[in-house]
Amino acid sequence: MTTDGRGRGGGRAFLGMPRARVGGGGRAAGEDRAAGDGRAAGDGRVAGRARAGGEDPAAFPPFPEAARAAVRDERLRANLRHATSTIRDKRARAVGELADWDRLRAAGKAVKDHTLRHLDHYLLQLEEAVTAAGGTVHWAADAAEACRVVTALVRATGEREVVKVKSMATQEIGLDEALEAAGVAAYETDLAELIVQLGRDRPSHILVPAIHRNRAEIRDLFRTEMGRWGRPAPADLDDTPAALAEAARLHLREKFLRAKVGISGANFMVAETGTLVVVESEGNGRMCLTLPETLISVVGIEKVVPTFRDLEIFLQTLPRSSTAERMNPYTTMWTGTTDGDGPSAFHLVLLDNGRTDTLADEVGRQALRCIRCSACLNVCPVYERAGGHAYGSVYPGPIGAVLTPQLRGTDSGIDASLPFASTLCGACYDVCPVAIDIPEVLVHLRERIVQGGPVTRGGVRVRIRPARGHAAERAAVRAARRLLDRPGALRAGERLLARARRLGFRPHRLPGPGRAWTETRDLPGAPAEPFRDWWARERGG
């Protein structure tokens, strides 16, 4: 189901693999998750793991290294190719139906930009409205603080288990791990998150976290793992979407009916009314948001919109962009608490965790417009081949490559490699429903890495030094500029090249960084003379 992550086609065959989806997940409290962690790199998964307080970037190899393994994993490639191309075509059709798509996109961008420019105002307005409606608002500066707040709230209820709506924000902060450490079992109830949880796996897509798994793998997982967390899957379970969905439905029903605490994120928060919105496909979200006595929602501060009417835009652009649906099956809205209807206690935890720092960057801040639709993942040729795990973050794909290095900084190998994990082909920008110019932000972050520059960290403006490992490249670029800025020298270089190639110098393999080119590609043939010599001879220039 969804949340930040947003709905996915419940039971619909919209994405090749998990087809059926219903929800649910489970894991016994106190289980040592790390025990099952040593996944074979051969299936495209990498070693890193969420932890309380968020993922540890140091646990992930740089992108090119992780991608190398994924590219060679034929099954992963086939799963991803099938899934992304299916949703890509469907999205294009769903968006093509709307004559005013470009205007909706511009309106969404404008609303988000306006809200971000006045974020302080709208957050205070939201707090007031939520409080007036019977909710309690908590402010969390970072992942650790958010985890502490939520853990304390759950403990205060005396409960030892919670049901969860799919939420990117709670994954970002490693909430499940924090709760586990506090002796609380957090059951994921979104079908794909259930698959991830049962497999002690990592999500690889914002909307479809188990996109790297095919139906046969999921059936095997259900058969072997479900019984360890609750109601087992039928012994004769097959891999048809309906059978998988039914097994998950029965397994999860137990959790829904028993849980006294629900934890969610939100797709939107309305400042004027204090209303939170979760958009989903499976109905597990509706269960988690209405059945428990206590509801705790952890939401990034950029999810606020000023007015209820603003939802008109996003409730059109989000489903079409993410699941390629005109309208998602379930849209749950709640405003504080209502006597005798739904949870009697509601807590909203507003999460910063690097967002205010990101907001301070005038180029990078547009990434905060993101509504987590995942359209950019589905059209990205790099994501399709590298898979989501290579991005070393709960936010994979093009949006992850611009969001993660801003939220986490660029100190680690993975974070410093993410902005380079793109050909800048621009397909992501084309489909983005809030017009985030992802290539522009990528180039901006590359600049930060190779040249250093001003960034905001913890609210303080600092100047970061160029990342390690780019010194030789920097020197080469500087030398090239000196050559290119003097046509006489450039011409001499071109002639030297032509002469060397005429004399038969055409290496099959280059040394050093050039090897990455000649591993798979020949060098172009040598011309007899550069163009400028032809021009001088033929046109007397």
Partner: protein
């Protein structure tokens, strides 16, 4: 009509035949072509890799080289996009950093005069039949910058379709990137090669003899992979097809 040819450094050093083809094609269409010798590299690879400051001297040089020409024509979608989109952006960033408006003024004065070759032919000269002859089966790969930055649309395909003797076949999943991406090709060689292999698989499935593009940098990547496949397919810049005639066939 007088135009300045911005041949680009890649074509100057590695693909002079593309530059020669542009000159012959434009002259055949009655255009007076000049080649300002002060031109060099536009700085795209440096800029896209994060070296904005190293790009600024090249912006100045390029702007000076083409000052005064009403049209600057280039046989590269990505270099055209660099001059048109990124130069003004570099100028604005410099101004925002308190370094004056000089770069912004140079960039803004240059950008509107820059045309990618097929755009110049169709939009400025108003021709789609350029009188070319090329008796081969051709499939066209629309490079990303031409497709999504410049929005060249079907201009290249209309030009190719009007070439006498040419059989144009559609490339499946044409709009997907070939995997070159400048320094991406060496920073992420595995993903780059995987994308290139898929592009070539689609191109070979068309049965075409020629994989045509409007950006020689993408064709360097694809052609370099093709040469290791021993395939009955070769890469060729669109300018060389459009310049070809019965009397002067393409290479």
């Amino acid at each position: 009509m007088r135009v300045a040819l911005f041949v680009t450094c890649v074509n100057d050093a590695l693909y002079p035949a593309t530059g020669v083809a542009v000159v012959r094609l434009l002259e055949r269409l009655g255009v007076d072509v000049d080649f300002p010798a002060g031109q060099s590299c536009c700085g795209q690879p440096q800029y896209n890799t994060g070296y904005r400051y190293e790009t600024e001297p090249l912006l100045r040089r390029t702007a000076a080289a083409f000052a005064g020409y009403p049209y600057v024509v280039t046989p590269s979608g990505s270099c055209a996009a660099m001059l048109r989109e990124h130069y003004p952006r570099i100028g604005r960033r410099a101004a925002a950093e308190g370094r004056g408006s000089e770069l912004a003024e140079l960039a803004d004065a240059l950008a509107p005069r820059v045309y990618e070759l097929t755009e110049f032919l169709v939009d400025v000269l108003g021709v789609t039949d350029v009188g070319a002859y090329f008796p081969h089966t051709v499939t066209y790969h629309p490079s990303c910058h031409g497709l999504r930055s410049l929005r060249l649309g079907d201009r290249p395909r209309r030009l190719l379709a009007a070439v006498k003797g040419l059989d144009l076949v559609e490339l499946p999943q044409a709009e997907e990137c070939c995997g070159f991406g400048g320094t991406f090709a060496v920073k992420n060689p595995d993903v780059s090669a995987a994308m290139g292999a898929d592009k070539l698989r689609h191109a070979r499935a068309t049965g075409a003899e020629v994989l045509c593009g409007a950006d020689n940098s993408c064709l360097t990547h694809l052609g370099g992979m093709l040469r290791r496949q021993d395939a009955p397919l070769r890469t060729l810049h669109i300018a060389e097809i459009l310049a070809a005639t019965q009397e002067e066939p393409a290479r």
